[in-house]
């Protein structure tokens, strides 16, 4: 399979690249051969060549630059998503999938609008999805979201006061996944990682143990639960 890591130098503010390097390893552990291609904003790509497209977090300015570059692929990405192929947007890359960001046209894959706020919302979170389970992470954003409830991915189990635009977090439409959680969210959550990997495995997944990843997840989950 082929993975496209979009804008790895522009949108890599919180060690987000960790998602892709470990995802590759986990897929390979399932016997899948993986090629990762990287493209920056001044380079072009053909979405049809890929099975998974990933983008991570950037600064607010970087996000605008990413949007401008990606808007050229609006039509192709729509088609890509409708075909059921996988996209994972983490951190503020997830905002690109909405209708608009501060009034500017975005990809229109998810029915939501993004508005920049004066305040910055930061803090550790626990979110939950019935199929995936509890997911831990950190949110660091200065935007509020309107809409997107129909495609919600997670519900909040724990978050800091202040972060109250919606009761839900992230989205999923077909195999388009988005979450505001920054950084290596798949590394930190072996259950979320396994879920994404399972999309590419036919039949039963091979049992592979990842003691460090499981340990790290348990540590953070129990630390955050102490603060609930």
């Amino acid at each position: 399979m082929r993975i496209l890591h979009l804008y790895p130098n522009l949108m890599n503010l919180y060690g987000d690249y960790g998602n892709i390097v470990l995802l590759k390893k986990h897929l390979e552990d399932q016997g899948i051969e993986v090629v990762v291609d990287k493209r920056e904003v001044y380079e072009s790509f053909d979405p049809d060549l890929y099975d998974l497209i990933y983008m991570g977090s950037g600064t607010e300015n970087a996000q605008k630059v990413a949007l401008e570059a990606l808007n050229k692929y609006r039509y192709y990405l729509k088609k890509y998503v409708e075909e059921g192929k996988v996209i994972l947007f983490t951190g503020n890359a997830m905002e690109l999938a909405g209708n608009t960001i501060d009034g500017q046209k975005a990809l229109g894959l998810i029915d939501m609008d993004v508005v920049t706020s004066e305040k910055r919302y930061t803090g550790d979170v626990i979110v939950n999805n019935e199929e995936i389970g509890e997911v831990v992470g950190f949110i660091n954003r200065s935007t509020l979201l309107k809409g997107g409830e129909k495609e919600k991915l997670f519900t909040y189990e724990f978050r800091y006061e202040g972060l109250v635009d919606n009761d839900y977090e992230g989205y999923r439409y077909k195999n388009l996944f988005g979450t505001h959680i920054i950084g290596p969210v798949l590394v930190k959550n072996p259950n979320f990682m396994a879920y994404i990997v399972s999309l590419f495995v036919e039949g039963k997944m091979k049992e592979v143990s990842y003691p460090y990843e499981e340990g790290a997840y348990e540590t953070t989950l129990s630390e955050l639960k102490k603060r609930k």
């Binding site: 503010l13 919180y14 060690g15 803090g123 550790d124 540590t219």
Partner: protein
Amino acid sequence: MRKFLSIIVCKLAKWICGYFGRGSSFPGQVALKICPDILSRVKLPETVIAVTGSNGKTSTVEMIHGILEAAGLSYAYNYEGSNQIEGVTTLVLSNCSLNGVFRKDVLLIEADERYAKYIFKYITPKYYVINNLYRDQMTRNGHPEYVLSDIAKSIREGSKLVINCDDPLVSSLSRRFDNEVVWFGMEDNQYVSETCTSVYDDGFYCPVCHKKMIYEYRQFAHVGKYECSSCGFKRQDPDHAITSIDLEEGRITIDDRYDLHLAFNSIYNAYNLLAAFTVGCEMGLDEELMCETLNDYLIRNGRIKSFLINGKKGTLLISKHENTVSYDRNLEYVASKEDVTLLMIIDDISRKYFTSDTSWLWDIRFEILNKESVRQILVAGKYIDDVAIRLEYAGIDMEKVKTFRYTKDAVEYIGENVEGQLYALTCFSDEAKLLKEVVVE
């Protein structure tokens, strides 16, 4: 009347705090309650020097203090821990007469990069040193571009900006302001690299127009000689420069003229020293005397601490968690030694706030440790598994890595098993966990 009361209460509170060994923010906090604009009501000296940036503020301020002292000037200064408005208020008021006249020749301020905008609402520094901007405690501070916008809000008309020309992010401030700028930087040398050596590249895109930036060379990370491929933004020629550097011998040359020895061999130390020198030049201080003072200048926290575990000597290195540059610097240092055992303690990510976020581990170049000479890597604390994942990805032989939930167990292991040179690397937030288990020399 409010001014008088504010000053006298601050002085009193400072005396009481001093008596009980309390911090230096509280008196200023009380004074600000009584008179919120007290800083604009006191008479400050003509020379106010301010220093901000991600790393090296305290060192730079200490070196400026050294050259002021040598020049026979009287001065007052603060340091990390009291570098927000409350601490600065304590500093100013405790050096004022009761009618609000600052009684020293120079006021020297270390300013927190996020909170400088509040401090300089009332004070206009004559010289404003902006050292650098790195990824630093992003869970609390926000990312460098966000911090830069805070620094921009702290710049007053009339301040002369003293800027590191090698750091594109802080240099881009000169595009936004008409203030006079004095540039300092480091010239090409034998340590530069053509490509980015850190895990991420904050110099990849131009901070002004976001097109690709081209580097002729880099000193480290995004610091070097750069030029935008599109908008013309580029490194300015420095007014004062490190024109040669020898890190093995710890020697630098400033402006092709002055040869100095460094008390601590690092490129970062050289930058801080040059920033101090540049301020002194702007003040018209005697250059030779400054160099004499700065030669082998030992900063307070520059003293390397050593300790003993079961008779085995170890060296303590401090890096700040969530601060990549400070980690990379110490990892490079450890990896340059022969036959090393490294102990890292990552337990409380911050001493000021809680977070369980470990994304920052992915920004650190642990790949540096992937060397034969690094014999063992011991990791202690809550986040051992997070570190282990990162070390494994860095290609490190996991046979070399041992993890311990508690520092105490790591220390016990070292006492019985470890040979070779021992280094411990941790943050202020976790330092005490080691120090209470060892004999401090």
